[in-house]
Symmetry: none
Subunit: 425 residues, 2 copies
């Protein structure tokens, strides 16, 4: 079933507010078997009617956001009523509710506020406990000869729209859409493997079944592999997916750092970090996770050589012979961090983030990531992420987190595949 | 002049990626006298042609984003060429560039990659140093009878689109749009003061002049104060703005951490960090700035009490008497970091990021920020940012950076105004 979303609001087109409605609605509608086939953003004013007419003729479901407020440029309600030839009538209950809201806050109520209590004949009111403007549902009878069977007018502010969607739109959809259309969504988040490898190893094969919707979303170091389909089919395919790409799957939704912190908490293990090129970002990612304080002991951002020597005990000779960006220094940093902090594990990073500092042997983007672990020899990996500074840091810290994840889970300590090869273009 | 933006990409409609193109393009186009009158998002595939045709007939300028890549669903280039009846020809220079990119990284180049080197006759190539797919500019002659005079096809990833826009689209617009439409945009970035205070102190007064467009964009800890107008008027108003809100202005575009690193580099000063609750984010922000290695010596993420004692020499008695989240511990951390690193300045943070750990005296969101500086007594400030963990860390690190900025510039060391008072609702 295909939906169309019409966002109104000059603030969106002026770039003052980022449009987050599309992502929210898409996520909520997918398990209902509804795909958003088109989204359009029009300014407050006459283009709304035109967009509404086109959408009603093109899609099964139409959602509008915004334009339900009290000001003169809020005309979504009026445009829809006029287009469908429905007279507007004041709804006493809404009016009483709005009056109460104003009275409670001791504010005078301007006449134009009452506009929000006007309801087109034959439509249903969707209550808005978080604002004055209610939403509206237009059922099939009032949509007449249009293709669309359902039209929802929703408020613009996300903190009004989202609760209304959960409390009133979803129940309505469950009541009016065929039960067979409802499906489940499952997301596998992977790192260390490229989108195309996931597609080749399992995605194509699942796509060919014909009863699953297969999708990918690649970000630096990460792939989200997404399946939508009947719950039974999703459960059935799970073992096959785990069998071929299981070791790269780090969560079903949580960020990599959250997955790693959860593993550490679960097994009561501790970690420290020693960072050069990533400059605190690795510690920063770990400590973004609530509860990180249970497992994260300390981080050392040893940017200069002196700090590497003084804080972590990296031998000056090692720095002189191999340079700060080298395998032996990465190893010494990780081992030093473990020794100084007393943590079970320590991760280190040393590399050339750029834009300056590259050499022929070690071009900008070269980085060493090491993991020192109690009871194991320290491992170190060389990666190459020739990208902007922030992406370089993100990919390097992901490689480090994945190394730790793999060590904890007893998986092969490879950082191969997609993670070391950033996507081009 | 009216523009229309067509975003392609199923990942946008599926809600996997937030559409940030609209905000970016709106901001860049405003000083060119161009307003975005409509934005539409269509899935990869046939709807692109239909959207393109409608847009070319409706608007003066059309921008597409996405669909220029190598896979079969990337069809924006082909759809535009077909719609306008332009034959596609391989561009040897682009092809050589793509080949080089792959060779440099030792990756094999699939045949379909070459699609990205196809160029519709009569169009101009917009180079893409950050990806394989170049952009394309369609000048008036190839747009024939359509209303639109200029069509730009831009890549989907923001890190490719944005540099291309600045380096190639803006110069082109300057060459083809009437000079009278161009205005200048000036952005003042402020921290430590709220949006409404900026409006009250100077914004209203400038708005009343009538010859300037005044805008605000508030983010946690920051306000962008934006003026668009004739260059002479902007130059004339500058002293008045500096006179009333000058001390809160940290840059005309650069991030706060970049402004601070620039100040340190300019004056050849060094800094170190000692972080508890911000967990490496302060070091991370400083080291996001290219050239940070010249001024940033070391960072200590002393999350646990032991690390605070061992690494920074915070007395155990201080921790026992006052607790880790306290003024004396913040001071001891900053002074310890300065002593251990030998830096001219050291910043420290200790607080309660939440969700757990709050008390009646020190609720979640309480944080102390201290600055130790050679030749000055150490200063410490208590702030309160009762927000989600990531926002809390951002606001705390901003407060620390601003304290250092003010010290270097000899400004009052107040963290008052908007920065300590998070915006509610």
């Amino acid at each position: 079933m295909q939906a169309e979303v019409i966002n109104t609001g000059s603030e969106l087109l002026l770039g003052l507010v980022t449009n987050t409605h599309l992502g929210y609605l898409a996520g909520e509608l997918a398990p209902c078997g509804v795909t958003i086939a088109r989204q359009v953003c029009v300014p407050d004013g006459p283009p709304i009617r035109e967009a509404l007419e086109a959408a009603l003729d093109r899609s099964d479901l139409v959602f509008t956001t915004g334009g339900l407020g009290p000001t003169t440029d809020d005309i979504t309600r009026e445009a829809a009523a006029e287009l469908l030839g429905l007279p507007l009538r004041p709804d006493e209950e809404i009016l009483a509710g709005i009056r109460q809201r104003f009275a409670r806050r001791g504010l005078p109520m301007a006449d134009r506020i009452a506009r929000q209590a006007m309801v087109p004949a034959g439509t249903e009111v969707l209550p808005n406990p978080n604002g004055t403007a209610p939403g509206l549902y237009f059922p099939p009878p009032v949509l007449g000869g249009h293709r669309a069977r359902h039209l929802f007018l929703l408020p613009g502010p996300p903190r009004e729209l989202r609760p209304m969607f959960v409390d009133h739109v979803l129940p309505k959809l469950r009541a009016v859409l065929p039960p067979s259309s409802f499906r489940e969504r499952r997301i596998y988040r992977l790192t260390g493997i490229g989108e195309s490898q996931v597609e080749e190893r399992i995605g194509k094969q699942l796509e060919e079944r014909g009863d699953l919707e297969v999708g990918y979303c690649a970000r630096p170091s990460e792939v989200d592999f997404r399946l939508i389909g009947p719950p039974a089919i999703l459960a059935e395919t799970e073992p096959a997916i785990r069998a071929v790409v299981g070791e790269w799957i780090y969560s079903d939704g949580a960020a990599l750092e959250a997955a790693v912190v959860d593993l550490l908490r679960e097994k009561k293990l501790t970690v420290a970090t020693a960072e050069s090129c990533t400059g605190g970002s690795l510690a920063g990612r770990l400590t973004n996770v609530p509860g990180a304080s249970e497992v994260f002991l300390a981080g050392y951002v040893t940017y200069g050589n002196e700090a590497k020597e003084n804080t972590l005990g990296v031998p000056a000779s090692l720095l002189a012979v191999h340079g700060a960006v080298s395998e032996p220094v990465a190893v010494a940093m990780a081992e030093g961090a473990r020794r100084v902090s007393g943590a079970r594990y320590a991760l280190s990073t040393t590399g050339i983030a750029g834009p300056g500092g590259g050499t022929e042997d070690k071009p900008v983007g070269t980085v060493y990531v090491a993991l020192a672990a109690e009871g194991y020899p320290t491992v170190v990996r060389r990666c190459y992420f020739p990208l902007d500074r922030v992406t370089f840091k993100h990919m390097t810290t992901s490689a480090a987190l994945d190394l730790l994840r793999r060590r904890i889970l007893g998986l092969p300590l490879e950082l191969g595949g997609g993670s070391s090869s950033p996507r081009l273009g």
